[in-house]
Amino acid sequence: MKEKQQKITALENELGKQQNIERELRAVNQQLDAANQQLQASEQQLKALTEQLTASERDLIEKEEIARFARNYAENIIATVREPLIVLDGSLRVVSASRSFYDTFKTVPQKTEGKLFYELDYGQWNVPALKMLLNDVLPEKSTMDNYEVEHDFERIGRKIMLINARELLQERAKDRLILLSIQDVTERRKAERDLQRLNSELEAKTKELQQILYITTHDLRSPLVNIQGFNRELEASLKELSELIKNENLQDSTKLISNQILDEEIPEAMHFITTSAGKMDALLTGLLSLSRLGRQKIALSLLDMNKLMEEVVENYKYKIRESQIEIDVSDLPQCQGDELQINQLFSNLIDNAMKFFDSKRPGKINISGEKENGFIKYTVEDNGIGIHPDHQEKVFELFHKLNPQTSGIGLGMSIVKQIVEKHKGKIILESTVGIGTKFIILLPKV
């Protein structure tokens, strides 16, 4: 029994031990579970971190790409721009320079980069005015536009350089950067000066010519007054003399001769003097008005062209009725012009049209106008005989007469052209023989 009891106790002990172990095991198991959970959480954190890291990396690559592109872009621009460019730091030391800088000033990067700007090429940029601008003006205004330096450059001689400068703002770096563009404008300035000189020479010459034209035409009129005047005086004297001689008792033969002289030869000579002086007078009057047009300054004002054209046409009322001409004027836009000159311009065009109507059909003149592409356009169109292509260029020439039989001295169209040019406009001629002629006048928009 005792033995049995002992066995039971032993078994109970064993059981107790086993129960203990089982408890411990459970505890361990619980610990393990907790650890496992921690591990899982950490793993998740790790995964999230990795993801963040990848994203950052991608970002970085992207930004790097953008930066590379921007740099590339800027470098390409600098390389492409034909103007020499140079970048300086705050102490005016060269950071970099463009290819055209090296080309223009015949130097190399080794002698340029990192060097002080004023010490480059034996101090060729050490120009006091430029120094003042870079040191004082630029920091204050951060830009400097179109500053011209005329200077003897080391390797390229005397040149005029146009300098533009910008301060580049750098947010993080404290040091400032300066971008300088240096353009060689020597040739351009020279050409400009030449042009200016030639222009003023031309102006002076034109003025001189106009003066000569004016003086000669004007001075030629005075003797002409005498030629005509005394010719008339002679005429009167001749008449008196004839009366006297006719009353004298002369021999028949003498009478015959004196009659021939007094009634035929002298009057004939006088007739030629009169008509020639008249022709000269017409030419001089025309030339005078042309020279006056050239000397006159135009007085621009806004013109009511409907009113102006009415006045122009009114002047031709008699001729229009007499020759049974039809003039049709449509609504005309306003323009900026010298009232008297524009009046003369259209008067001359109508005058011209009237000289060249076709006798086979009733004359017709159409005047119209419209606004077109920055111009005011007026058209004067007739149904006259037209102008042969060979003659069209000559129409505006001085003293050119298409038909020697017509009246006038061949000045009207020269005056038209001069008026149009004085108004900075254009005149175009379109004509077909047998159909008619069209003059198109383009004046600058109001």
């Binding site: 004007h218 003797p223 007054v225 005498n226 005509q228 005047g229 010719n231």
Partner: protein
């Protein structure tokens, strides 16, 4: 215009002067006409008569284009002088430049006649001037102003 009054003709062209004189005479104007060939002579004479108190001429017929001193300048000096400025001045010239005409009017010329090249018109203009001078009362320049 009284016969005793003198007319000064300043005209550098002898021919023109002759034609003007003949035609003024034909229109019936019998006044004495003194002719000068340039602006300087004209001014010298005018200022001398003024000093000598022997009577400022009654009328000045003045051409513009003259050697030495031109007509516009003569007009200006005449109109600047307190005594001479009362003398009527008629411009007779070949110029048809409107600005020149305006200038003369601004300086105080009494009238302006363009010498037309056309002789009939020229004669007509001068004769009309003569007729005008015949009937017009020209104030006595030498009388003190009222």
């Amino acid at each position: 215009m009284k016969k005793e009054l003198t007319i000064i003709l300043a005209e550098d062209d002898e021919g023109h002067a002759t034609l003007i004189r003949r035609n003024l005479k034909r229109s019936g104007l019998m006044n004495k006409i003194i002719h000068f060939k340039d602006g300087e002579e004209t001014l010298d004479y005018l200022f001398q008569t003024k000093e000598k108190k022997d009577g400022i001429p009654s009328l000045l017929l003045l051409d513009i284009n003259m050697p030495k001193i031109d007509g516009v300048e003569v007009l200006r000096r005449v109109k600047e002088d307190p005594d001479l400025k009362r003398m009527p001045v008629i411009m007779i010239t070949t110029t048809d430049d409107p600005r020149e005409i305006t200038k003369c009017h601004e300086l105080g010329c009494s009238n302006y006649i363009s010498k037309p090249i056309d002789y009939d018109k020229f004669v007509d203009a001068i004769r009309k001037l003569g007729l005008f001078l015949l009937i017009v009362e020209i104030p006595d320049v030498n009388k003190p102003m009222d």
